[in-house]
């Protein structure tokens, strides 16, 4: 068991290991409270994912989670969390989508579990995943075109009924 890292110790080592294993892919390394983070452009995101999956020293074979974030003016970001059973280490990959076309290449071919995660991220924040098998809505109705997790999306005002004189519930005055 080479680089056995629990979340709060030695996650930078994993990032350096990836840097040495995949030298020709440009990404910046930064630190989060639990895992190291690699920031990469959408163009060479697919090559990084293939590298992570195929390389024996890394062999990240579980895609845990895809988080889509509306960063306000910095556009829409997607964060991926990978984990390797063989080496026991995990990594986080941040992919800021271009504000022009908001698309990120889809990785359902190498990780089939990404299918539903990408569909949910797409409908919640409005990202588009290029090459996704069926990009329909997952959690919202099929014909809805709203993105609830955008910062601009409003909340619903709770309906306060003061007393009986307001009439029976459900009937608008």
């Amino acid at each position: 068991m080479s680089t056995k890292t629990s979340p709060d110790s030695g996650n930078i080592k994993t990032a350096e290991l990836i840097r040495t294993q995949l030298p020709n892919i440009p990404f910046e390394i930064s630190e989060t409270k639990t895992y190291a983070d690699l920031k990469i452009e959408p163009e060479n995101f697919l090559s990084l994912v293939d590298g992570l999956n195929k390389n024996d020293a890394l062999s990240f074979d579980l895609l845990r989670n895809i988080v889509a974030i509306d960063m306000g003016e910095a556009g829409l970001w997607a964060k991926y969390h990978f984990y390797s059973f063989v080496h026991g280490h995990g990594i986080q990959v941040t992919v800021p989508a271009k504000s022009t076309d908001l698309t990120i290449p889809s990785i359902t071919k190498t990780y089939p579990t990404a299918n539903w995660h990408e569909r949910e991220a797409a409908e919640m924040v409005g990202l588009k995943f290029q090459g996704h098998p069926d990009p329909r809505n997952l959690l919202l109705e099929e014909d809805l075109d709203i993105h609830p997790l955008r910062k601009a999306h409003p909340l619903q005002k709770p309906e306060i009924l003061q007393g009986i004189e307001d009439g029976p519930p459900g009937v608008e005055q």
Partner: protein, 192 residues
Amino acid sequence: MTEKPNTEELGLLSYTPDYGNEEDRLQPVEAPNDQALYRVVLPGVMQTGVDTVIAMCRKSSLWPMTFGLACCAIEMIGTFMPNHDLDRFGIVPWPSPRQSDVMIVSGTVTKKMAPAVKLLYEQMPNPKYVISMGACATNGGPYTEYDRVLQGVDKIIPVDVYVPGCPPRPESLMEGFIALQEKIMEEKKNAG
């Protein structure tokens, strides 16, 4: 593989619920009020006696439909289990809406689920009652600010008894059932 004929135009085999667009999905459903046969046939003076007997029978054999939405469903199942046995009141859960009289809406009704709730309410035979269990079913509960959540099930179907709590304890659901039984005994005339 032989080319399958399109199953759409075979009325029997294909069933696609026509939910329509957003507005008429959330149209409320009125409670039906047609009369039972015995009230039409029997002369007036005998009706009160038959009414009380029928109301007592309805009261003591309320069959709810197993219709759990969210966390309140777990407390609803808990009410049918050994510690708080609803079977003592003659209340046994039934899978199909056709054979049930009470619909316990236990959990958050979202706008995507609203047409299914209305469909099930219409499928139930006539003297039917609705118990809105928990804060979510009454007015959206802790999730009332999210715009995909329906603020209360009484916006789409008429509700008889509201059970407060999030989730309500099994005892309060039993109290809801007792309140429903008293309501059946009171309004036995227009029970239909």
